[in-house]
Point group: none
Chain length 234, copies 2
């Protein structure tokens, strides 16, 4: 399974361990942890029960770094309450889409207490929700990981259709996003007062484009030229 | 859901709590515990996080007593190793059978360490297994309960995904394309010699983006501003 599980700011070593155990159960090997509560992370990794997945877990400072080599990023949410600006899929169709994704997919889980922040979510292509009875109460982190991986692993893997060009990686998309933001700033499109919300809006939009690596390089060529010209005019 | 979750000889209060939490998530209310490790059971029930399911959990001395009022009894197992004398269903068909059962169904989970004993199993009509990759390693108890209840509660009909913004019309896409081409010309990106092939390339690229009407208007806002700024510099 070409899937990376990313735990963002987890606080409980038992949950980190449980996530790793579910990964082993369902054949998912790469665990990444962003900005974890250090005591928890050390404790999880050094536990007697820690298997190879935990021991090779990679640690990152930011979500952007953790997903840089992925071409699809899916955030998980328990929502209801938050105003969603992202497309939302329920788990069964979401899992199907993940199974069919041609490149490496990152599945993001937020902290036990707060879930994913809007900033974390802005890196996602779409959000996925496990359909529970009580929308008011979120699932336990380890259990949410288990249910998601169960559903993703459930059916025979449908081989992805051959794509003409490989999908862009998140690193490439972020580079393009930065150039676009730069152009927005230099042209005066971006109002400094609401800059951060505009930034997230633009980031989300670029993720929705479903760009191939080749398209990204075309975009970057155009933007580079536009930036050069805009720069001259300052 | 006319389902009773029966934990046989659980030893870890966190697992008992996790089972109850998953039950609440998926709308299953009756928890029964057979011969639990007393310290663990007391601790689970008295935890601050203990909801109504845990507080009304019933305790029994034997499996027979715990399932006396049920008309279908299903044991869960991680198998491979044990010689099975019972019919075995994988989770998806098993869950379907449970959903269709007319009376009260008991779903048995064994202890964290040993699973269900042959004696416990003898009370079951059939066994159910979650299909994992590594048959050698069992699932965590709380996670197994969550995955089983998720599958049993999943609706036969997948609810429609929430609607997204309407897709952009071709007219809108062409307007955006023209602005992008204009920016390419004014910035010097477009080489006049190969202009028409570049134009087509850009047009195709914009069509591939799968843009919503809302996204197109954001793009056009940015491009309008960039064009205005580029125009000034001519």
């Amino acid at each position: 399974m070409n899937l990376v599980v990313v735990l963002v700011a987890p606080r409980n070593p038992l949950n980190i361990g449980a996530a790793a155990r579910a990964m082993q159960n369902f054949g998912c090997e790469v665990l990444r942890v962003v900005n974890p509560y250090q005591v928890a992370f050390r404790e999880a990794v050094s536990a007697v029960s820690a298997g190879p997945i935990l021991q090779s877990a990679q640690e990152f400072d930011t979500v952007a770094d953790a997903i840089a080599d992925c071409s699809l990023v899916v955030g998980t949410t328990s929502i209801g309450h938050r105003e969603l600006k992202h497309p939302l899929k329920l788990l069964p169709p979401g899992a199907k889409a993940i199974r069919r994704a041609p490149g490496k997919t990152a599945l993001l889980f937020g902290s036990e207490k707060f879930g994913l922040s809007n900033d974390d979510i802005s890196h996602s292509h779409w959000l996925m929700r496990i359909q529970t009875i009580d929308q008011s109460r979120s699932m336990n982190l380890g259990q949410a990981v288990a249910v998601c991986l169960y559903e993703i692993a459930r059916s025979p893997v449908t081989p992805a259709e051959p794509k003409q060009s490989r999908p862009a990686t998140m690193g490439e998309l972020e580079q393009m996003t930065q150039m676009l933001l730069d152009a927005s700033r230099r042209s005066g499109y971006m109002n400094p007062v609401v800059a951060s919300s505009t930034e997230n809006k633009v980031r989300r939009m670029v993720r929705r484009l479903n760009l191939s690596a080749r398209d990204v390089s075309v975009w970057m060529g155009m933007l580079r030229q536009i930036l050069w010209k805009l720069g001259n005019s300052e």
